[in-house]
């Protein structure tokens, strides 16, 4: 059946901000969907509040709405655009839930919008765990024993019936939010309580625990002819009990016979038919008992999922793209497999390689958070690797994580076996490393299997890796080609081999090259080489023959940003992808290197060639070599992928690789505090007083010289890693003691901490002569809160022309002083009229996509061109940059865009099960961001809040409790809230101040005061009981003190549990008040980026 002619326009809902459990894989799927549907000639309308995504670039849809994803807003968009259909299956759980809400609110019916992909009932059948269970059983398959509960009483009864431990799982959530194991009644109260709150249908499922069973996933696709194909089977190395998102996973399944696999396939197909996912992709999870083979269906996601993205990258089968085509009426046999071109999509990919995905965690950012892995996803990113064997793929994947200690090592003596066996019994980040150590320390496969439930086949593969290490280590015999080849086929890096032979990486590399031991590059072709592949999607292996095609055009190699992590996420992928697009257009052959399966950059048709490889020196050098063998490499771009490629710049250059854009030497000028200090001095640009210390003594001396408070941090970090505000010698000495990797060339930086300073972020483009000021962003929160975590407005709302001119001059001086070619990001702090330079990053920054969207200028594209030698003037002429003016001189009626950060606090709890503190600081902890854009600040801010946390309240109760230093500034905004009709609750001190200023504030008891004699509840109780609609709480006292700080902590964590907006700075409060006023005025409309852009262009023209 060809495509449906009755569909002319489709609304696609994106997945919103990057959060744990829902990352940029949905940017990948959404972008694919937009592209194919546009290519099909449909009018594509997109809504996604996340500006960092590629899908929200104006060129991917006909109308792009960067607006909050909630039924209310989307209804406005539907009313305005009148789409024929809504495609809800490509935007993760967010899109699915929004579609359900729209259906239930009767909106879809009202505007007769058809749900395509999966209809409402199918979504119900797939997502509602009770209905789903019924379906599975009706098919003669098994689910875990379970009871559905809607109240705490039902929960307790259920647990009694199932027996502890039980698994608690809410319906309609993703990433295991609100789920967990309850070993006793106390756990149950806590987890099920959160679970009931987390589930939009306040429904939780109690389930018998099948921890330790083997866990599998199948990715399926179905078309309207009822043809079903299985795209990929995935086996979890970590058995049941660890969320798939947190598990090391392997494709294809490694330990199933055909009989068992086919049985699983039969059940999966029966389920997808019965649930009725009529077109598109879905994902079904299974558990298999290791010694009986009993099979249990865990769940299904009637939509494209995280695993679908993984499956697409693992097989080369573009699930999202095909799903979109199926949704508009095509059948699988009508769609060509665009890898082979000659065969149709109605087949099942077969792999002649092994794919391994490993999760990346960020526990170091959430001190006190419980690092145990459970049914509740905690990882913030992942890396994938492809190899011709499991060991090769696994070791490549581990080094792709770019985390200290992620790769196996044999240098240090393993801890005592008992300890290891004890420790690996509980899943946690780095467990595999301990497993390897245990096997090294002499544990039998049986022992380790007993402790972990990891299949003996996988364990034996790790034993094999250990054996190869031992063989390499035998220092008496030389490193022969055979030895090296064997090690390489087991995924060993030059670094690892070097460690084993106490040689440097360079020496090993030279030896290897001398012996002619080099990787070849094989094609991901969906068919195990049965047919010739057209798509250059390559991975390295120490195999027989290379498949790299001969290039004709000059090549540009773009280094991606690797696994998502806090501080380095989709924003950087955005810049890489844009560089690739625009350089292709400019006539280059673009070559992408990256190892993050969630991204658009690792989509095989984003660049002319994709290498799915780790971003280490060794792996990149080999790719460069392979490309040089087959053509001319014009240059390698290291400036767009964040800190990862930037860190490789110098070493690459030393190895003779042509780096384009800002030179490694210039990068050093910006990254090295000493050198940077000289740059500042030369341009006489003020910076906070600072010094660098390599010892506690030095640090204390410096601190006392420049005066407390000081801000300390290690050099060469992203996302403010390990950064702290320190108020006294004792804390400072403590910090130095714990600070990681302090050395002469990696000193600790000590800065004077600027109190009450306005922070300003600037993205600029410099070609050696002209500076293009991309955008000037004014932070809402004052300096001291990481730029990545604070909200900001563009154009700046309180900065005057002369401020901006000063910023322009300073930025120009920095660009010249450093020698930037391309993008640069500068952070300033404006304090008492002085414009301090906090730091300059000679690379694309986190804010590039935001700036591009807010000002309707493709900054990353322009940057890529500049790096390849184009000038700003040229780009203005070509129309890539505006003919005149720039982000510093935006016309008065330019829209105001507000960026708000989204923080993952709701995902972390300490071992006792309480939440972690939510106050912001100089260390970045947000996982994603949203943008609110409108004509005035208030509305834009309100939108940003709605998109990030749920709408600001317009009535009800506000609880206020602020630090003394904030008491003055708080009065006015709180008074305004009272005038707007809010009831004000406050703690004693705050209440006094408010009353004196004529605001009638009710006093509530602090948490520390406990419940009153008359049973008056504490504020925490009232928050938990949902009696408070907005919380204003600025942290008191320095970390040292306990009392008040703990109160704040209790309040803020309660707010997170109940999902109540919680403002932790007075600047934030002022903004919130403006937002609330805007909402109360009720004039919040929707407008597409395309509309904003054309207005802006006109405004500019005048």
């Amino acid at each position: 059946m060809p495509r449906r002619e009755d569909l002319k326009s489709v609304l696609i809902i994106g997945s919103g901000p990057i959060v744990i459990g829902q990352a940029c894989e949905f940017d990948y799927s959404g972008t694919q969907a937009c592209r194919v549907l546009k290519a099909e000639g449909l009018r594509v309308i997109l809504v996604n509040s996340n500006p960092a995504t590629i899908m929200t670039d104006p060129e991917f849809a006909d109308a792009t709405y960067v607006e909050p994803i909630n039924a209310e807003t989307v209804e406005k968009i539907i009313a305005k655009e009148r789409p024929d259909a809504l495609l809800p299956t490509l935007g993760g759980q967010t899109a699915l839930n929004c579609a359900v809400a729209l259906h239930e609110a009767g909106v879809l019916e009202k505007y007769n919008v058809e749900l395509i992909g999966a209809d409402f009932d199918a979504i119900q059948r797939g997502e509602n765990r009770e209905i789903f269970k019924g379906i599975v059983e009706s098919l003669g398959a098994e689910c875990a024993r379970s009871v559905i509960c809607h109240t705490m009483d039902e929960v307790l009864a259920g647990a009694a019936e199932l027996g502890y431990p039980v698994v608690v799982r809410p319906s309609f959530t993703m990433g295991g939010l609100g789920s967990g194991f309850a070993y006793d009644e106390a756990d149950l109260h806590r987890i099920a309580g959160a679970g009931l709150a987390a589930s939009p249908t306040s429904e939780v499922l109690l389930e018998e625990s099948i921890t330790g069973w083997k866990e599998y996933e199948l990715e399926l696709m179905r078309d309207r002819n009822d043809n079903v194909v299985v795209i990929c089977s995935i086996e979890n190395l970590d058995p049941m009990g660890v969320h798939t998102g947190d598990s090391i996973t392997v494709a294809p399944a490694m330990t199933l016979t055909d009989r068992e696999y086919q049985h699983m396939r039969d059940v999966a197909i029966a389920v997808i038919r019965k649930v009725g996912v009529d077109t598109g992709g879905c994902n079904i999870q299974f558990a298999i008992h290791p010694s009986t083979g009993r099979m249990i269906v865990i769940e299904m996601n009637p939509r494209v999922s995280r695993s679908s993205a993984l499956a697409s990258k693992a097989t080369g089968f573009p699930i999202a793209k095909i799903a979109a085509r199926l949704a508009v009426g095509y059948t699988l046999d009508e769609i060509p497999n665009d890898i082979t071109k000659v065969t149709p999509a109605s087949f099942e990919p077969t792999l002649d390689y092994v794919v391994v995905k490993v999760p990346r965690f960020a526990f170091e950012k959430f001190p006190g958070a419980d690092p145990t892995l459970t049914t509740h996803m905690k990882s913030v990113g992942e890396a994938m690797a492809i190899g011709r064997s499991f060991p090769e793929a696994l070791q490549k994947a581990l080094r792709s994580l770019e985390q200290k200690g992620a790769s196996f090592s044999w240098s240090d003596v393993p801890p005592p076996l008992e300890e290891l066996l004890e420790s690996i019994a509980t899943p946690h980040d780095g467990r595999l490393h301990e497993v390897q150590q245990a096997l090294l320390a002499g544990a039998t496969i049986g022992q380790v299997y007993q402790a972990t439930g990891i299949d003996p086949w996988f364990l034996d593969q790790i034993v094999a890796i250990n054996e190869v290490a031992a063989d390499i280590r035998l220092s008496d015999d030389a490193l022969t080609a055979a030895k090296l080849e064997n090690a390489k086929r087991h995924g060993f890096s030059d670094v690892q081999i070097g460690q084993l032979r106490s040689l440097s990486e360079e020496v090993v590399r030279e030896l290897r090259h001398a012996l002619g031991v080099r990787p070849v590059y094989l094609t991901v072709d969906t068919c195990a080489a049965e047919f010739a592949a057209q798509t250059p999607y390559l991975y390295s292996s120490y195999d027989e023959e290379s498949e790299v095609p001969i290039g004709t055009r000059p090549k540009v190699i773009i280094l991606g940003s690797g696994p998502n992590r806090i501080g380095q996420g989709v924003e950087f992928d955005y810049s890489c992808v844009h560089a690739s697009f625009t350089l292709s257009e400019a006539g280059y052959e673009t070559v992408m290197v990256n190892c993050n399966p969630e991204t658009v950059s690792t989509d095989y048709d984003t660049s002319d060639r994709l290498y799915f490889e780790p971003l280490t020196l060794e792996d990149v050098l080999e790719v460069v070599h392979a490309e040089q063998q087959t053509g001319v490499v014009a240059g390698v771009i290291v400036q767009l992928g964040g800190q990862t490629p930037l860190g490789l710049a110098q070493k690459l250059k030393d190895a003779g690789v042509p780096i384009v854009g800002t030179s490694p030497e210039s990068i050093h000028l910006a990254e090295d505090r000493g050198a940077f200090g000289r740059v500042l001095a030369a341009g006489n640009l003020p910076a906070p007083k600072h010094g660098t210390a390599t010892s506690a003594e030095e640090a204390v001396a410096i601190a006392n010289e420049i005066g407390y408070p000081v801000l300390v941090r290690p050099s060469y970090v992203l996302g403010g890693r390990g950064m702290e505000i320190v108020y006294d010698d004792a804390t400072l000495t403590g910090y130095m003691a714990t600070a990681t990797e302090v050395s002469a060339d990696r000193p600790v930086l000590v800065d004077r901490f600027l109190d009450e300073a306005i922070e300003i972020d600037v993205d600029a483009l410099y070609d050696g002569a002209d500076l293009y000021l991309g955008g000037v962003m004014e932070h809402i929160e004052e300096a001291g809160i990481h730029s990545g975590d604070s909200a900001c407005a563009l154009p700046p709302i309180t900065l005057g022309r002369e401020n901006i001119e000063r910023i322009r001059e300073s930025t120009l001086k920095l660009a010249q002083g450093i020698g930037v070619r391309g993008l640069m990001n500068v952070q300033y702090a404006l304090s008492a009229g002085v414009l301090y330079v906090l730091e300059a990053n000679p690379r694309a920054s986190r804010t590039v996509p935001f700036v591009s969207k807010a000002t309707a200028v493709p900054l990353a594209k322009a940057a890529a061109r500049v790096m390849m030698g184009a000038t700003v003037a040229q780009l203005r002429a070509e129309g890539i940059l505006p003919p005149t003016g720039d982000g510093g001189t935006l016309p008065l009626d330019a829209p105001i865009a507000v960026k708000e950060a989204v923080l993952p606090f709701n995902r972390f709890r300490n071992a006792e099960g309480q939440g972690v503190d939510t106050i912001l600081g100089p260390e970045m902890r947000s996982t994603g961001e949203v943008m609110g854009i409108d004509e005035v600040f208030g509305t834009a801010y309100a939108k940003s809040q709605a998109a990030a946390y749920g709408s600001l309240p317009t009535k009800g109760r506000v609880f206020v409790s602020v630090a003394n230093r904030d008491k003055r500034t708080m009065i006015f905004p709180v008074k305004r809230l009272a005038d707007l009709g809010f009831e004000i609750l406050a703690t004693e001190g705050t209440a006094e101040v408010l009353r004196r200023n004529g605001v009638h504030a009710k006093i509530v008891r602090k948490h520390s005061e406990g419940t009153g004699p008359g049973g008056e509840p504490t504020v925490v109780r009232r928050v938990l009981d949902g009696e408070v609609d907005l919380i204003v709480n600025t942290p008191f006292g320095s970390p040292g003190q306990s009392g008040p700080r703990v109160d704040g902590y209790e309040i803020r964590t309660a707010a997170v549990v109940r999902g109540i907006p919680c403002v932790t700075t007075v600047q934030g409060l002022a903004a919130a008040v403006q937002g609330i006023e805007a909402v109360t005025r009720g004039d919040v409309g929707v407008r597409s980026l395309q509309e904003h852009a054309s207005r802006l262009r006109n405004a500019w023209a005048e």
């Binding site: 002819n225 009822d226 043809n227 194909v229 299985v230 089977s233 294809p252 399944a253 490694m254 330990t255 199933l256 016979t257 055909d258 009989r259 068992e260 696999y261 086919q262 396939r265 039969d266 008992h289 290791p290 010694s291 009986t292 083979g293 059948t331 699988l332 046999d333 000659v342 065969t343 149709p344 109605s346 087949f347 099942e348 990919p349 077969t350 792999l351 002649d352 390689y353 092994v354 011709r388 064997s389 499991f390 496969i445 299949d455 003996p456 086949w457 034996d460 094999a464 086929r489 094989l522 068919c527 195990a528 080489a529 049965e530 047919f531 010739a532 120490y542 195999d543 027989e544 023959e545």
Partner: protein
């Protein structure tokens, strides 16, 4: 570890280490793209005289058990893998694959270059090859490869088929149909699938004549899969013509499909590298539905795709095609009860999308029973006397 090598008839050499038994073996080297089911593959008689190379990199992970084999022995002439498992891990595993290969004296090689080999065969076609862990001189081995027999013109069915007839009883308690199945290299799963549906299956030697078959007065006749070149199977073609002339419901799989094609007067030809795997898309031309199916064939039937055509047994049509290369995957008589498929609905190894074909066979036998019940007397045997009309290709 003993070194081993694989030498192709065009002189290409691959190096690796011995896997399974040590020694030397020759055959036609083909690749199989299945990611599961190595045990079924090894025991599939259609692989007789073939050296099978697995494209999946890890082989042997789930060991070997006594439940999954498709025949009583390992049939492949040699085995090529990339990474043999060091331990067998599965709750049904009884032995390691390596031990099994050794026990059956099957010579194999583990080598990095399996993908390169596949690409080579894809471009140049299946060819003769030798695997040796005793020879060290590639040239010497090459000479012996060139001296070994090829697949074209090979008549192998008799070599693998049962010598004695045997019966596979119905598994449903009652016997609804009696099926005569001619064994040309039949897989265990095939009679099993019929028995599941209430058939009592009498498996006959490859040499069975029309008379032998009809003497059983079966409700339906089945011709199995098997090794070798269909153009040599004149005896079976003749036998089938007799069966068709007698109007007995017929179902054929793989080799059986090729013989059916020849019986209908169609030609067969050798594919460049054949279809061997479990992911092949086959389209039912009537419903448009696509079945993901298991394949194992190096030859195919040459039939008109543009609609029904005349045969000595009335009109026939191509019922199924392979969406990858348009190759004929199924034939159906329109005026008499008879059909066959080139692929493997019994699916071991492979997906179960096509098991309905066994129900179709049963339905066909049902209809025939009903018909003959309606007008008794027209019993088969004498029909055989009429013999089958000669066709141009007879005796080719």
């Amino acid at each position: 570890m003993t070194d081993a090598m694989l030498v192709l008839e065009d002189g290409r050499v691959f190096h690796g280490v011995a896997f399974g038994a040590e020694g030397e073996t020759f055959g036609e080297v083909v690749f199989n793209t299945g990611m599961t089911g190595y045990q079924e593959t090894l025991t599939d008689p259609s692989y007789h005289r073939q050296i099978v190379a697995m494209t999946a990199p890890h082989i042997g992970n789930t060991g070997v058990n006594d439940l999954d084999p498709e025949s009583f022995r390992i049939q492949v002439a040699g085995y090529v893998v990339r990474q043999p498992a060091r331990v067998a891990s599965n709750w049904r595993a009884q032995r390691s694959l390596d031990a099994e290969l050794k026990a059956h004296g099957v010579v194999g090689i583990a080598m990095p270059g399996t993908r390169a080999l596949t690409r080579h065969l894809r471009d140049r076609g299946a060819m003769r090859a030798g695997v040796s862990s005793v020879e060290t001189d590639p040239q010497a081995l090459l000479q012996r490869v060139l001296a070994s027999p090829g697949m074209a013109g090979a008549d192998l069915a008799a070599e693998v088929a049962t010598k004695e007839a045997y019966v596979v009883p119905s598994r449903t308690g009652e016997t609804r149909f009696r099926v005569a199945a001619v064994d040309l290299g039949i897989k265990a799963m095939t009679p099993f699938r019929m028995a599941e549906r209430g058939c009592e299956v009498t498996v006959l030697p490859a040499t069975a004549t029309a008379e032998d078959i009809l003497a059983l007065d079966p409700d339906g006749v089945f011709f199995s899969n098997g090794p070798g070149d269909p153009s040599t199977a004149d005896a079976q073609v003749h036998a089938l013509r007799g069966v068709l002339a007698a109007g007995r419901p017929f179902f054929g799989i793989c080799f059986g499909n090729q013989i059916f094609g020849r019986a209908l007067g169609l030609g067969t030809y050798k594919l460049r590298f054949g279809h061997r795997g479990v992911n092949q898309p086959v389209q039912d031309r009537r419903t448009g539905r696509v079945e993901i199916s298991a394949h194992n064939h190096g030859f195919a039937v040459d039939a008109p795709l543009d609609g029904p055509f005349e045969t000595p047994f009335g009109r026939a049509e191509v019922s199924h095609v392979n969406l990858n290369d348009g190759c004929v995957e199924g034939l159906r008589l329109l005026d008499r009860p008879g059909f066959s498929v080139q692929y493997h609905p019994e699916a071991a190894a492979g997906p179960h999308d096509s098991t309905l074909l066994f129900d179709q066979f049963c339905a066909m036998m049902q209809a025939a029973q009903a018909a003959s019940a309606a007008e008794p007397g027209t019993s088969a045997p004498n029909a055989a006397e009429q013999g089958a009309p000669a066709t141009p290709e007879e005796g080719a």
